[in-house]
């Protein structure tokens, strides 16, 4: 068209994000989360295998990793009972020491709670008892007062 300007047929360009963009953004996010989860899943499988079949030192490290960061609730549900019955006392003590308690000699039942001298340690042990659904009573405001007095936020 000599001497003239091409005029677009559409009234105005479509602004981002349009409906397709919104769908796409959601799908990309979901795929991203799935890929991260798959990576974690693989790493967890390795840890579990090591915790079951490795040498004592490797099992200790794997269990501590599982307990501290990888699959805490699974550790909570399965590992502690296994650890309490673990014949390898070194393994049991090391895992407890590094994971939930700095006092591995203590059995974490209600009677033992009263014998833990360090208030911060007692607090952690009490929480741990609760987490294992064996706590005899629920937290009260007085507990909160005491715990925050002794251990800080």
């Amino acid at each position: 068209m000599p001497g003239g300007r091409l005029v677009s047929a559409s009234p105005r360009p479509r602004r981002w994000p349009n409906a397709f963009g919104l769908h796409l953004a959601c799908v990309v996010w979901i795929l991203f989360v799935l890929s991260v989860s798959l990576g974690r899943h693989q790493s967890l499988a390795d840890l579990r295998r090591t915790a079951a079949t490795g040498s004592t030192q490797e099992r200790i490290e794997a269990l501590v990793s599982l307990g501290q960061r990888a699959a805490p609730a699974q550790f909570q549900q399965r590992a502690p009972a296994a650890l309490l019955n673990e014949s390898d006392s070194l393994l049991r003590e090391f895992a407890f020491t590094n994971t939930f308690s700095r006092n591995p000699a203590q059995r974490l039942d209600d009677d033992a709670l009263a014998q833990i001298a360090d208030p911060d340690e007692r607090f952690r042990a009490s929480l741990w008892l609760y987490c294992r659904m064996t706590t005899p009573r629920r937290v009260t405001l007085a507990d909160l007062d005491r715990w925050f007095q002794v251990s800080g936020p």
Partner: protein, 500 residues
């Protein structure tokens, strides 16, 4: 009655209102209207703030204590644990954790303060919903009702997850209705926001989980046959947006429990409470356990609707350590009980429904248990609060019924969203019921009640009570409601006596 409300595409468009005496004005709010709406929301927040101050710091009750434990455990061990027999969604424990880590012992109070201020989103959503489905006057009535509805206001100074759930769920309902009424890019953005809000709400409480397929299917069908592709596109956007916040949590649960759990795990534990030979009404149970104060729950309830052999209740599957597996096993036991005792199941469902609509609340229960150390627990305020809360709950349910009729007759697009919620939440009570399970239902009731009070017919009377089709249904609904209140009358009397 104008047929349909959007689900099957028969609802009249905004541009073509039904030929009815109801011609509500839903044009965008003018400045004075917005100021009045803001006033009621601010008033509601101020009332909740006053209640927080007047309540004092009440002792932690059952689930409140469990939430605190979860928060503390998460803070000290970096782990979100199960809560006894449940897996609760993470958002409320996470909020408590942040508050306790940031403010120490005062974190409890700070978290309640957050609930008070964020509750404004519920008030604003209720105003917007009533204005969209009715008119501006209905919107303001809804704002006033939300502000003054004491049973809901009181939850902001308690430690349950419900108020935080509503902070996201109520805006989600508003955005869904707005997306139904709007078109183009604006509607898409609202759908995206609605989906995100629903997803985050499900990270707070799982009670709305089975509402999702209803909402998604309703959205797909709401455009009618002529625009099914548009309906599917919108439904897909809503579903994807809901998945955005839920997918990380679901994958975490798959990692931990070996099952895909999108929100929480409570079905099995609720089956233990609700599909069993015992009867647990948590509005009344703590009152019956006060030493020497009241009869047992079994002796209190009307025998025709109460459990008769609580000693034959099936036990929890405590021997299964994995919460998800235990949940599945308890659900199986609950269904087995239903198959073996079909008559008991049906009989006790009446009681469940009665517990759900009983005009009491956890606020009244707290008053009855003398849980408020502040001025709210003194005799005068306690009695005023009890009467206010019980009357408000009764009136809200009573007036919501003609409001449903008004909404149906007005026939605004998107009405189906609220109707779906109005049916869904009572249906959940057939498993386990107490007034607390009514909380997600309350925004819907407030909107319907506002439509009943705020909309007038041609002759100036309340439109929901005027002559015409549907009046008999309203009368039948009232009769049913009164019947259910009669079923729960012994328990209600105990609540009133205890709080008095």
């Amino acid at each position: 009655m104008a047929a349909g409300c959007g689900v099957v595409g028969l609802a009249p468009d905004m541009d073509h209102p039904p030929e009815d005496s109801l011609q509500p004005d839903s044009s965008p709010g003018t400045r004075p209207w917005l100021l009045w709406a803001a006033f009621w929301v601010a008033f509601g927040v101020a009332l909740r703030l006053a209640l927080l101050g007047l309540a004092g710091e009440s002792e932690l009750h059952h689930d409140e204590a469990n939430y605190i434990y979860l928060a503390l455990g998460w803070s000290h061990f970096g782990v979100l644990q199960d809560a006894e027999r449940y897996l609760w969604p993470p958002l409320w424990p996470w909020t408590l954790r942040q508050a306790l880590e940031g403010f120490g012992r005062h974190g409890l109070w700070v978290s309640k303060l957050c609930l008070v201020f964020t509750s404004a989103s519920v008030g604003a959503s209720v105003v917007g919903l009533a204005a969209r489905l009715g008119d501006k006057r209905s919107g303001l009535v809804a704002g006033a009702l939300w502000a003054l509805y004491l049973p809901l206001a009181a939850y902001t100074h308690m430690g349950w997850a419900e108020p935080l759930f509503l902070v996201f769920f109520a805006p989600a309902l508003y955005l869904l209705v707005a997306a139904e009424q709007d078109a183009g890019r604006s509607a898409d953005r609202k759908l995206l926001a609605a989906g995100l809000c629903v997803g985050v709400a499900l990270l707070t409480k799982s009670s709305a989980l089975f509402l999702l397929p209803i909402l998604i299917a309703g959205l797909a069908l709401s455009r009618g046959r002529g625009a099914w592709r548009e309906g599917l596109r919108r439904a897909a956007l809503l579903g994807l947006a809901i998945a955005v916040p839920l997918v990380p949590w679901t994958l975490r649960n798959a990692e931990v429990y070996g099952r895909f759990v999108p929100s929480g795990i409570s079905l099995g534990a609720n089956a233990f409470n609700g599909l069993n030979a015992h009867d647990l009404n948590f509005d009344v149970l703590p009152l019956t356990r006060r030493p020497g104060k009241a009869p047992t729950l079994l002796g209190l309830s009307r025998p025709a609707f109460a459990s008769r052999h609580p000693d034959e209740a099936w036990p929890t599957a405590a021997e299964i350590p994995n919460t998800a597996d235990r949940n599945a096993e308890e659900w199986r036991r609950g269904l087995a009980w239903v198959r073996e005792h079909p008559f008991d199941f049906l009989r006790t469902r009446v009681k469940k429904l009665a517990d759900f609509v009983a005009p009491t609340s956890y606020f009244v229960r707290h008053l009855g248990l003398r849980r408020y150390p502040g001025p709210l627990g003194k005799p005068f305020l306690r009695r005023v609060g009890t009467l206010w809360a019980m009357a408000a709950a009764a009136l809200l349910m009573f007036l919501a019924l003609p409001g449903v009729r008004v909404a149906w007759r007005t026939g605004r697009r998107g009405t189906w969203v609220l109707l779906a919620c109005a049916v869904y939440f009572p249906a959940t009570s057939l498993l386990v019921a107490s007034s607390r399970f009514r909380v997600p239902w309350l925004p819907v009731l407030l909107v319907f009640c506002a439509l009943a009070l705020g909309t007038r017919g041609a002759e100036g009377r309340l439109a929901g009570l005027g002559p015409g089709a549907g009046r008999r249904l309203v009368l039948a609904g009232w009769a049913l409601l009164l019947g259910l209140w009669w079923v729960d009358l012994p328990e209600l009397r105990l609540c009133l006596e205890a709080a008095w």
